[in-house]
Amino acid sequence: MSSTDDGETLPGVPNVGTDDLDAMVDQEQVDPRDELADVDADTDLGIAMAEDAKRVSRGELSGEDYWSKYDEAANTEFGEAYRKTPNPSVQSGDQTIDADVAEDLSCTVGSMESVAVELAEAESATDDTSSDKTWGMVIDLQKCVGCDSCTVACKAENRTPPGVSYNVVMEEEHGEFPNVTRTNVPRPCMQCENPPCVQVCPVSATYKLDNGVVNIDYDRCIGCRYCIIACPYGARYFDFGENYDDEVEEAGEVTSPEYGVDRGKREDGKSPVGNVRKCSFCTHRLERGEEPACVETCVGDARNMGDLDDSDSEVSKMADSSRAFQLKESEGTDPNVYYLK
């Protein structure tokens, strides 16, 4: 465009020299020696390892050589902490190190995921009430602004096809102009204590878990849709096999491990196509110790997730408050989703 174009500049983008940017990065960088002075470990070893780690990432040094070089030193320096922490290099795909080298390492070899699982197991072993958890959700209607980001987050998390939306926000307008009010009522699956959907399923493909979540076994569901008929909240959806391939390239490539089962790529004639689907309280996230996607994303912090059986938990306190109510209480379904007026 302009005559001073050096070939690197894009139209409409100010030409800032990359050297200037690199200088800014260097300026922000802290002195490693100062940083490491505050920790107990050997400063020289730390700096050497960091420098070589950079060489590994530039491809000048292999992962095998790196660990052969520092294994002994790290073992001496960190002792048990080093031996017990799994070295994730073996299973991390792009930075795999040779099995023989892994064998020689004095520390445990494994993935970071295995560390997380071990930590969770250790936690649950000490906390024997965790298996009696009843997951519950409390939605504060005073905080809900009706932005529908829970619906969007849910779609993104659970990769639901067109026509299937585990969460919707029901918008109700009351009164006459100028005295009008509007209430937004987000509606996930209520995870009822007495679920009518479970009652009617002819093959027991949907059932109540001990943790309060109503589960669907996609390998058993025959797609008769009786549960959709029976649900008083309209929370169940049939998967007609549609997809977003026309809107998004490779939309079906990413899938969600619903109910903790990874089913791989979405294909015609393969479950959950032809099955009934619904919100699972993001079981797969709960299992990782995360909140459901809708709770995490809520801009007004209107959604709360927790253990209803724990009387000290925030959700059970909120569910006990005088503001709390459930949808269609007269149905006798006793939802585990509560709302605050």
Binding site: G163, M170, P202, G223, R225, I229, Y233, F240, E242, G274
Partner: protein, 423 residues
């Protein structure tokens, strides 16, 4: 197909060869069209329907309960002969039973095509749910079909034995096989058959009324999320409308088969008796439906009142007024009023057909309206009319039933060889 017997006139096929050809060509055309629709259904999956997550049940479910009703009604008509021993009804005993069996087969085909996972159709026999009406129903259907086949066997066995005795070759062997080798035609063997026929019928009556069709009504009535169905009267109306459609079907089949297959004249007393039954069932059906509507309106329950408003004045109200009220109640009732009309086969056939078609609308008006209003304010309204694939597969499945019935009527001794009543 002449018989070499001097004792029996057995020629169960069409009297008129050209009519036969035309009829099979007609069924063939329906099967070709239905087969293509079925291919679309299987390759495109449930996306080939106009069903949604808001209206998950449509034409296939309506036809399924329609044919279950037709079967239960036809079976109960048969018990008037073989259990209650009503005079002059034995003539239609086998007709009714055979039609009941075919209707059940058609009903199960509709259930099958409606499943999201057609390949998992046997799952309800592997896994069960005690609280699910549907789980109980599929077992009741199997038991009921077993009863129907048992009954037809005991009703027809003696004539099968007689035919096996008198015919040679393939047909003789076929009848021998169908008689399960019991070729005794003595009075004692006939008495044995009739005793077991009655026993099976006695077992079948509660099964048909309470489990098969009452149970199908319960399937809907237990759904408290749909107040339109959630009523104690609902299963009762199911049974009455089943009796209505079943009686009408048996009446039509009796006249058509007697005239077109047997070439005999119709027993006018029998026709009159069936016609009078039909009047009774129409009155009860209309009255109970009116009571049901009255209770709904008097409850002032918004969901129920609005659903009835959808039925009476909504987009699809023509199906209620023209088909349900017109075809299944008013039109046949007019034709049934005059004694001489009731005794005239060519008046009773349109009256019966009118009911048989009108009850289809009754079934659609059961299934669809309850799904139009959202279960909660703020959720979208439903709207449904079957897609071409749904119509096509439905016609194809009905054609399978017509074909099976015609093949059976052309080979089996559905008309007792001894003429009318059991001797």
């Amino acid at each position: 197909m002449a018989t070499n017997s001097s004792l029996f006139e057995f020629d169960p096929g069409f009297e008129n060869g050209r009519l036969r050809l035309a009829w099979y060509a007609f069924i063939g055309a329906l099967l070709v069209g239905g087969g293509y629709a079925m291919w679309l259904r299987i390759t495109q999956g449930m996306a080939s329907t106009n069903l949604t997550s808001i209206v998950p049940w449509g034409a296939w479910v309506a036809f399924y309960i329609y044919f279950v009703g037709l079967s239960a009604g036809a079976f109960l008509v048969s018990t008037m002969a073989n259990v209650f021993e009503m005079e002059g009804m034995h003539r239609i005993d086998r007709d009714a039973l055979f039609a009941a069996i075919i209707s059940m087969a058609v009903a199960l085909l509709f259930v099958w095509v409606d499943l999201g996972r057609m390949d998992r159709m046997y799952f309800p026999f592997v896994w069960r749910q005690l609280t699910s009406a549907l789980s109980w129903e599929v077992h009741a259907y199997v038991a009921y079909i077993a009863i129907l086949v048992t009954e037809l066997y005991f009703s027809m066995r003696i004539d099968l034995a007689r035919l096996a005795d008198r015919l040679d070759g393939f047909r003789g062997s076929l009848y021998k096989l169908l008689a399960l080798g019991r070729l005794d035609t003595s009075e004692a063997s006939q008495a044995f058959d009739q005793r077991w026929l009655k026993r099976a019928g006695i077992l079948g009556i509660p099964l048909a009324i309470f489990m098969v069709h009452g149970g199908t009504g319960v399937l809907f009535a237990v759904s408290k999320a749909r107040p339109y169905w959630n009523s104690g009267l609902f299963p009762v109306i199911f049974i009455i409308s089943a009796l209505l459609s079943g009686t009408a079907l048996v009446m039509v089949l009796y006249v058509l088969r007697t005239r077109l297959f047997d070439g005999n004249s119709v027993d006018r007393d029998l026709l009159d008796r069936l016609a009078q039954l039909l009047i009774g069932f129409i009155v009860i059906d209309a009255a109970l439906t009116a009571i049901e509507a009255l209770i709904a309106f008097a409850s002032l329950h918004p969901h129920e009142v609005e659903t009835w408003q959808v039925v009476l004045f909504g987009e699809m109200s023509w199906s209620f007024w023209w088909f349900m009220v017109g075809f299944s109640w008013v039109f046949p009732l007019v034709l049934l009023t005059k004694r001489s009309w009731r005794r005239s086969p060519w008046v009773m056939v349109p009256a019966g057909l009118s009911v048989v078609i009108g009850i289809i609308a009754v079934r659609f008006n059961i299934v669809v309206p309850a799904q139009i209003l959202p279960v909660m304010e703020g959720l979208p309204h439903g709207s449904y009319f079957p897609s071409l694939v749904e119509w096509g597969t439905s016609i194809g499945i009905v054609a399978v039933g017509l074909l099976l019935y015609t093949l059976g009527a052309e080979t089996l001794p559905l008309t007792p060889l001894s003429g009318g009543d059991h001797e």
